[in-house]
């Protein structure tokens, strides 16, 4: 495993521990001896030991371990180091700091700590309270300089606030854009243009700061897979491909539980027990793969398994069992049947296990993905396996939308779901695109507006819906693409039908981001 990418985080974390250690040692030296200070010092050195061992910095781990051992003795006796013992701790601290600095600068860790370790052991044994003549050639006090770390930790909420501030700026800029257009003032136009560049620059930086690699979330998944497969008597080989792809922290946070849930489902329901797999001519161990990739302005996260696949017949009967009309279920195509797994209360499990089968989960998975502007679908082949796919926006809050003007109303559609915009003639009921023929649905009708008609040529938007592509007619209206600051719906109007979020235009006008899939239902 390549740990070098975690180096800066290691340096940052250890630096914080060292900072606290230094303060604690000073408080002991200043005559504020308290047993709890010793316990606190113990915890800090213990953390440094663990982190250093994980990163492969053996010498640092060894020194931290020796200090920890000595502190343990003090802690057990209810005492604290003083005098020469305390000097030794300071020297240990200096050694650790020097070595962490070497890590930070990318230098090999070259520090002779033998005499320091010897001295610590001597104190620890208490048989020879002998101080080594010079435990370590520590840094020259006169040469020490004060410096701040290059990286710093801040509350992630600060970035949310920054993004909200940029959203406000975008709204103001949009208003100024219009004003500059109306006034025909070249200076105003120039100022708005410069403002636009600055906002985009800040926006880019803030977005970058919010981006987190997927593996930051998934590093513990192998353990989860191991535990679940062991509990269910299955053998599973798990792999993650594309874990270095970055996503907005808020989106990644929202899909953490859905990812775990899908992997649990794959192991519990998908992967067959080893003897069954052998009987079917498969390898005794199943494969569960998490594949992350970039596609346009989205990130695709696929969880696939090579298990038994989903049973469409059972899905249909369970759906009818929980109250879906039989005729509606019978009219569904293959993809729609698979999506029945996302109905609240529907479970394919025959027994309730601690892992799954309570009929809660896939509906929550789908809801979570959609709550961040994503898209969820399922592919499954009986006997071959199942693939669950989340299509997630790279960032939240500011996204490209298509503003659709319909008479006096304006609605927004997410650009990530728009495949193409075409012109269609009056009286057209169907649109052909890339060999697919699809019915033309009136957006006005979908939102409940009257359609006056009389328009000879319409714009149609080919929209990637949950159940395949759909053509939406703009009914004589017009479209424009903008970067919009998107705000989520908040209580009490959090679950309005056909709306997933909203934005405010420069003139203060409220525009709803439509949930086309829901409107089509």
């Amino acid at each position: 495993m390549d740990l070098s990418k975690y180096k800066s985080l290691y340096v940052l974390e250890v630096g914080e521990h060292l900072k606290d250690i230094e303060a604690a040692l000073l408080s002991l030296e200043e005559g504020q001896p308290r047993p709890e200070v010793v316990a606190m010092l113990f915890r800090h050195f213990h953390s440094i030991k663990g982190m250093s061992a994980s990163m492969g910095y053996g010498v640092i781990s060894k020194v931290a371990h020796e200090i920890e051992e000595v502190l343990d003795g003090f802690r057990n006796r209810g005492e604290w180091p003083k005098g020469g013992d305390l000097d030794l701790f300071f020297e240990g601290f200096d050694a650790l700091k020097s070595m962490v600095d070497m890590v930070d600068k990318g230098l090999p860790i070259r520090l002779d700590c033998a005499s320091l370790v010897e001295g610590l052991k001597a104190v620890g044994n208490r048989d020879k309270a002998r101080m080594p003549e010079k435990a370590l050639a520590g840094p020259d006090v006169r040469a020490q300089i004060l410096s701040l770390p290059k990286t710093m930790k801040v509350e992630s909420g600060l970035f949310d606030d920054l993004l909200a501030g940029i959203g406000d700026l975008l709204t103001i800029k949009s208003g100024l854009d219009k004003l500059a257009e109306e006034q025909r003032n070249i200076e105003l136009k120039g100022a708005v243009c410069r403002m636009d560049r600055s906002i985009k620059d800040i926006f880019g930086k803030v977005l970058e700061a919010r981006m987190v690699p997927v593996e930051a979330l998934t590093f513990s998944l192998p353990r989860v897979v191991r535990d679940i497969s062991k509990a269910r008597g299955k053998e599973v080989r798990f792999s993650i491909i594309g874990g270095d792809i970055k996503l907005d922290r808020m989106i990644l946070d929202a899909v953490g539980d859905p990812i775990v849930h899908m992997i649990r489902n794959a192991i519990d329901h998908g992967i067959e027990p080893p003897d069954e797999r052998v009987r079917l001519g498969k390898e005794p161990y199943g494969h569960v793969t998490m594949y992350v990739s970039r596609e346009r302005d989205c990130v695709l996260v696929e969880i696939s398994d090579d298990g038994r696949g989903m049973d469409a017949g059972r899905l249909k009967s369970r759906a009818v069992g929980i109250g879906l009309p039989l005729e509606k279920v019978e009219a569904m195509d293959g993809k729609e049947i698979l999506m029945l797994a996302c109905l609240p209360g529907l479970s394919l499990a025959d027994e309730i296990t601690e892992v799954s089968g309570r009929g809660v989960g896939m509906d929550v998975v789908k809801g979570q993905v959609e709550s961040v502007g994503g898209f969820f679908d399922i592919e499954s082949v009986p006997g071959k396996g199942t693939k669950m796919r989340m299509s997630l926006p790279l960032t939240v809050s500011i996204m490209k939308v298509l503003l659709v003007h319909l008479d006096n109303e304006i609605f927004a559609l997410p650009m990530s779901r728009i495949i193409h915009v075409v012109e269609v003639g009056d009286g057209t009921n169907e649109v052909s695109f890339e060999g697919n023929s699809m019915p033309l649905r009136s957006l006005k009708a979908l939102v409940g507006m009257d359609n006056v008609g009389g328009v000879e040529e319409w714009t149609a938007v080919i929209f990637r819906g949950e159940r395949g592509q759909v053509a939406l007619s703009i009914d004589g209206g017009s479209c424009e693409e903008i970067d919009a600051y998107i705000s989520p719906l908040t209580p009490p109007f959090k679950d309005m039908r056909g709306i997933s979020a909203f934005t405010t235009l420069g003139d203060g006008r409220l525009v709803f981001l439509l949930d086309i899939d829901e409107l089509l239902e």
């Binding site: 304006i410 979908l446 409940g448 908040t490 109007f493 039908r497 405010t504 409220l510 829901e518």
Partner: protein, 147 residues
């Protein structure tokens, strides 16, 4: 049931809301359409990055509809959240609590009226803002039947 009240004159009738519930009174010239809205919902506006759903008081109270735009919106901070009451070009005034201490509860006829208050012998119906807001939330919920 004391306290100051804000009074709205709509279609010749007078309605009051508790003044302490009133967050803003706004003149609005455009209401954004909520997809497939129930009849009693006029639309929505954005105010300080919050969505405020607007209830059409005339429709709610079965009065002759009002379509004046720009129109006046009384935004109330109800238990359920912020909800706007659209009152068209209604005259908005206020009365002191001391003037309207007497109130008679109504037995029926209006679902969203708590009772009548008679300051200076006028018949003013006191609106149940919490019930109106709760109704608006329910009407716009995904679980509500499609109008």
């Amino acid at each position: 049931m004391g306290g100051d009240r804000i009074v709205l004159d709509i279609r010749g009738e007078r309605f009051a809301v508790d003044a302490h519930l009133v967050e803003y009174i706004l003149d609005v010239d455009h209401f954004s359409l909520i997809p497939c809205p129930p009849q009693i919902i006029k639309g929505a506006i954005s105010h300080r990055n919050n969505i405020i759903v607007i209830v059409n008081l005339a429709k709610l109270l079965s009065l002759e509809d009002i379509e004046e735009v720009p129109g006046r919106v009384v935004v109330i901070g109800a238990e359920a959240g912020l909800v706007g009451l659209y009152a068209g070009k209604a005259c908005v005034s206020s009365i002191w609590g001391e003037e309207c201490s007497e109130m008679a509860f109504l037995d029926g006829g209006y679902d969203f009226v708590v009772g009548t208050i008679n300051p200076m012998k006028e018949n003013i119906k006191l609106l149940d803002c919490n019930a109106i807001a709760a109704m608006a939330v329910k009407a716009l919920s995904k679980k509500a039947p499609i109008p």
